[in-house]
C-alpha cells in the first residue's frame, strides 16, 4: 500500500500536467460549436449534372482506349458528367489512389487544371469571399493530415481564411477548412499529443502517457477504496466535539479535553496547543504522529505499514487516521506535557565558524523536564533576514569571506532544534534551554540561507520567540550495562552531548557497573570541533568515556584521526568492542547517517539497537 501511494505521488508529477491538458481540451470538445469545428461554415453541395443517358459514351469504348481500370464511374463535376477511371484503388479515398478523368459525352481526356479547380471550389462554396489563390500540393498537409494523394488547395479571402481541398486526380471536394477548424485542431493535437501532426492518436508519446495515466488512476482508485473501507470518509454536520481523557506517556492524566469530531486527532490536538510531530501533514505516510488509543480502535492500512504488530496490539495508532468519536482515552507518547512556551534569548555565542550556542530562559518561570536528545519546535515569524550573521567574531570572518551579503524576506515557518542541555540539569528540570544551531549559509542570492537557523542566530539578547515541546523522539534506552556508541558530526553534537552528559551524570550518581560510552565526532577542522575542551575533560574524568574526534581537513599538526567519521568507524569498529551488545546513537548530516546505518547493517546490528535523530 505504501508503494502504491508512493507510485501515485510520483506518477502525479509525471502525468499531472498532461492530465490537466486532457481534461481542459476535453471540456473544450464538450462545449465547442460543432458546426464551426467541422470547417464547413461555407460548404455547400455542388449542383449535380442532369445526365442524358443516351449521350453517354459507351464505357467499353473508353476502356479500350485507356489504361486498365478497377472501376469506371460516371460522376458530376461543374454540372457536367465525367467518367472517373480508377486505375489503382485505395481502401479509402484518402489512401493512395490513381485516377484519370474522361468527358462522359465526348470521351475526351480531361486534366484538372487551375481554372477548373477554381470553378470546382466555387461550386462547393457559398460564402462571400473571393479566391485568393489555388496551389497544387503534395502530402503531408496540415489541414488534412491523413490525406495521401496530391491535392489542390484553393484559398478564399474571407474572414475565417477558408481553404477548399480538392483531389488533384478526381476533382472530388475533399474538405473545407478554416480558422475555426484550425483552432479546434490545436485542441485535438493537444488531446492526442499529436505533435508530429500525423493526424492520429496512435503515437508513441500518447501510448506511454496513457499507460502511466492508467497506473496513476488505478493507484488512486485503490487508494480511495482503501480510504473508504477504513472509514476515512465521514460526513459530520456542525462543529460537535467530544471529551477525551488525555494522558501523558507516564499514564498520568493531563486532563479532559474537548476535541472537535469533524477533524482528525492530529488537528484536534493542535487546538489545545498539543503539536504532534508530522511531516506529511496528516496524509498517513510519515508515521510520526503516534499516540495510544483504546486498543479496539480500527487499524488502518497506513498503520499496518508504519507501526509494528506489538505496537498495534498495545493500542498505538496514528493521530491523523482517527477522530475523537473513536476513542475515549488518548495517551500522548512522544510528548510529556509538551506545550508552547515563550522563550527569551539570554546568551548567543559563536562556538565554531558556523555554529552558535544559544541559551533561552523560559518565561513564566516554568522548569522543563525532558530526556536528553529531546527537541523543541520553534515558531519562526515572518521577517527580514540577512545572509551573513550580525555580530560575527573577527576570528571567524575569514570563513564567511565567500558569502555574498544580501537581505531577504521569509514567511513564517517552524523549525525544530535539539536541546543541548546536559550535565545534570535536565533531571531536575531546567529554566534555561541550551541549543547548538548551525547557520545554514547560501553562497549567493539564488537560494535563501536557512531561514530558521539564520533567524534565531540573529536574535538579539532579550528578544523572545515561541517554541513548543519538548518532543522526545530520540533518547537513551532504559539504563543497562550495554556499551553505548554515539556517532555524530556537525551540529549533531547537541543531542549527543546531552545524552553523554545525562549518562555520565547518572553513572556518577548511581555508582553502578561501568558502561562503556564511545563518542565519534566528525568535523572539518579544529575550529569546527565543538566543546572539545569539555569533552576531553570528561574523557579524562570518566574512565569509561572515550572521545574520538575525526577531522576531514585538519591542520598540519593534528595528531588525531583523519577522514570521515564513518570511514574511521568502518576500519575500527571491530577493534573497539563486541558489536552485539552495543547501542548506537546517531546524529549528523544525511550522508554520514546513511553511510553509518549501512555499515551497521552489514555488521548485522539489530535495527532495534540503532537510534538516530533523523533530519526529516
Amino acid at each position: 500500500m505504501l508503494l502504491l501511494k508512493k507510485l501515485h505521488k510520483w506518477l502525479s508529477l509525471l502525468v499531472g500536467l498532461q492530465l490537466l491538458v486532457w481534461l481542459g481540451t476535453g471540456l473544450y470538445f464538450n462545449l465547442m460549436d460543432h458546426q464551426k469545428a467541422s470547417g464547413n461554415q461555407y460548404k455547400q453541395t455542388p449542383v449535380v449534372a442532369q445526365v442524358d443517358i443516351n449521350r453517354l459514351v459507351e464505357p467499353q469504348l473508353v476502356l479500350s482506349q485507356s489504361k486498365q481500370v478497377v472501376s469506371l464511374k460516371q460522376i458530376s463535376l461543374l454540372e457536367h458528367p465525367y467518367y472517373l477511371l480508377t486505375h489503382n484503388k485505395g481502401l479509402y479515398s484518402h489512401f493512395d489512389n490513381d485516377y484519370s478523368l474522361v468527358d462522359a459525352y465526348t470521351a475526351e481526356p480531361v486534366v484538372i487544371d487551375e481554372t477548373m479547380v477554381r470553378k470546382l471550389a466555387q461550386s462547393s462554396y457559398n460564402g462571400k469571399g473571393v479566391i485568393k489563390n489555388a496551389v497544387k500540393l503534395s502530402p503531408p498537409y496540415e489541414d488534412i493530415p491523413r490525406e495521401q494523394n496530391e491535392v489542390w488547395q484553393v484559398n478564399y479571402a474571407d474572414y475565417i481564411q477558408t481553404s477548399v481541398y480538392i483531389d488533384a486526380g478526381s476533382g472530388r471536394i475533399i474538405k473545407h477548412s478554416n480558422d475555426d477548424k484550425r483552432f479546434v485542431d490545436i485542441f485535438f493535437m493537444l488531446h492526442f499529443m499529436d505533435y508530429g501532426t500525423e493526424g492520429s492518436f496512435n503515437n508513441v508519446q500518447i501510448i506511454l502517457f496513457s499507460l502511466f495515466t492508467l497506473f496513476f488512476s488505478l493507484t488512486g482508485f485503490i487508494w480511495t477504496i482503501e480510504l473508504l473501507f477504513n472509514g476515512q470518509y465521514k460526513v459530520r454536520f456542525g462543529n460537535k466535539s467530544r471529551t477525551l481523557a488525555l494522558f501523558d506517556k507516564d499514564l498520568e492524566l493531563i486532563g479532559e479535553f474537548d476535541l472537535a469530531t469533524n477533524t482528525n486527532l492530529l488537528d484536534g490536538l493542535i487546538d489545545h496547543d498539543i503539536a504532534l510531530s508530522s511531516t506529511c501533514g496528516g496524509g498517513g505516510t510519515c508515521g510520526q504522529c503516534k499516540v495510544r488509543l483504546d486498543s479496539s480502535v480500527k487499524v488502518t492500512s497506513a498503520e499496518h505499514v508504519l507501526l509494528t504488530k506489538e505496537q498495534l496490539q498495545q493500542g498505538y495508532r496514528l493521530a491523523c487516521q482517527h477522530d475523537a468519536t473513536e476513542t475515549k482515552r488518548l495517551t500522548l507518547i512522544d510528548v510529556t506535557k509538551a506545550k508552547k512556551y515563550l522563550l527569551e534569548l539570554t546568551h548567543s555565542e559563536f562556538i565554531s565558524p558556523y555554529i552558535k550556542e544559544l541559551r533561552f530562559k523560559v518565561l513564566g518561570g516554568e522548569k522543563l523536564k525532558f530526556k536528553a536528545g529531546a527537541h523543541l519546535r520553534f515558531y519562526i515569524p515572518p521577517a527580514k533576514g540577512i545572509s551573513i550573521p550580525a555580530r560575527l567574531p573577527d576570528a571567524f570572518k575569514y570563513h564567511w569571506r565567500d558569502i555574498e551579503y544580501f537581505e531577504y524576506e521569509h514567511q513564517a515557518c517552524s523549525r525544530s532544534y535539539s536541546l543541548a542541555n546536559g550535565d545534570g540539569q535536565i533531571e531536575a528540570g531546567t529554566n534555561e534551554l541550551k541549543f547548538t544551531v548551525k547557520i545554514q549559509n547560501a553562497p549567493n542570492k539564488s537560494i535563501y540561507p536557512g531561514v530558521g537557523s539564520s533567524y534565531i542566530c540573529n536574535l538579539g539578547l532579550g528578544q523572545t520567540i515561541e517554541a513548543a515541546g519538548p518532543f522526545e523522539d530520540f533518547h537513551a534506552k532504559p539504563s543497562s550495562n550495554k556499551t553505548m556508541m554515539l556517532i555524530g558530526a556537525g551540529s549533531g553534537m547537541a543531542p549527543l552531548k546531552s545524552l553523554i552528559e545525562e549518562q555520565l551524570c547518572f553513572y556518577q550518581k548511581e555508582r553502578k557497573e561501568t558502561r562503556g560510552i564511545y563518542f565519534f565526532y566528525g568535523a572539518r577542522t579544529e575550529e569546527d570541533l565543538l566543546y572539545k575542551d569539555e569533552l576531553y575533560r570528561l574523557s579524562r574524568k570518566y574512565p569509561n568515556f572515550f572521545y574520538y574526534p575525526v577531522l576531514s581537513r585538519p591542520h598540519k599538526n593534528w595528531s588525531g584521526a583523519k577522514g570521515y567519521v564513518q570511514d574511521l568507524l568502518t576500519s575500527n569498529i571491530n577493534k573497539i568492542c563486541q558489536i552485539d551488545g552495543v547501542e548506537f546513537y546517531l546524529c549528523g548530516p544525511p550522508n554520514m547517517m546513511s553511510a553509518t546505518i549501512n555499515l551497521l547493517k552489514t555488521k548485522n546490528v539489530d535495527a532495534t539497537n540503532i537510534a538516530f535523530d533523523e533530519f526529516i
Binding site: G26, S71, Q74, N203, T279, G490, G492
Partner: protein
Amino acid sequence: MKTLKVSRKLHRWLMLFLGLQFLIWSISGAYMVIFDIDYIHGDSLVVNHQAKVNVDEITYPLSALAKQYPDAKNIAVEVFIEQAVYRFTEHDEKYVVNASNGEKISPLNKVVAISAAKHYYSGDGAVLESELITDNPPFELSRRALPAWRVNFDDFGSPSIYVSAQTGKLVSKRHEFWRIFDLMFSLHVMDYEEEDPSNKLLFWFTLFSIFAAITGGVLSYFVIFKNRAKNTLDKSMGVAR
C-alpha cells in the same frame, strides 16, 4: 499547511465520486491509443482487390442498359467477384447488372452474398452464419448501408463482413476490437446512447475533474516540492528536522 489540508480533503472527497470515471477514462483512453486505428477499422480483415475490368467481357452495351433502365444514374463499370458489372441507381434503388449479358445480380441472394463476403474477407475462417438485414441495423452498421448481408466468420475477433444487398459492395467490416473500441468511446465521452461528446453528464464530470486534478496538483506540489525544499534545507542545517 492549511492549503495542504484543504486540498487533501477536497481531493479525497471529489475522487470518491470521480475516481471511477478517471479509471474509465484512462482504461478507455489507453485502449483507443494503443490499438492502431487502421486495425480497429478492420483494414486487415479485407483484401483491397485490384482486379481490372476486362473490356472484352463488356458485351452488354450501355445503350442496351439505357433501354432497360432509362432513368439509371451514377452508372459505373466495375468488377464484382471477377465479373464485369454495371452498377447504377434508379429511383433510389441500386442495381448490379452483369455487363456480359445484362442479367440482374441484385438484390443479392444468400449464396452470392456469402461468396462476395468470402471474396472480400482476408482470413481463413469458415462462414459461421449469414443474415439479411433490412431494418434495425446492429449498432456497428450504418442505416445508410441497408439492406445488407451480414456474414460472420469463425475466426479470431469474431469478424463480420457486411455486403450491400443492392450493390454487392463491401459496406462494413467489424471485429471484436472495433466493438470494444466503440464501447470504450462511449465510456470515454460518457454518452452511452448517441456517443455525443456534448452531453451534460460529461460537462459536469469534466468540470469537477479539473477541480479535483488541481487539488491533486496542489497536493503533489506540497508533498513533493515543498517538503523536499524543506527537507534539504533542514538536512543541511544540522539538528533541525
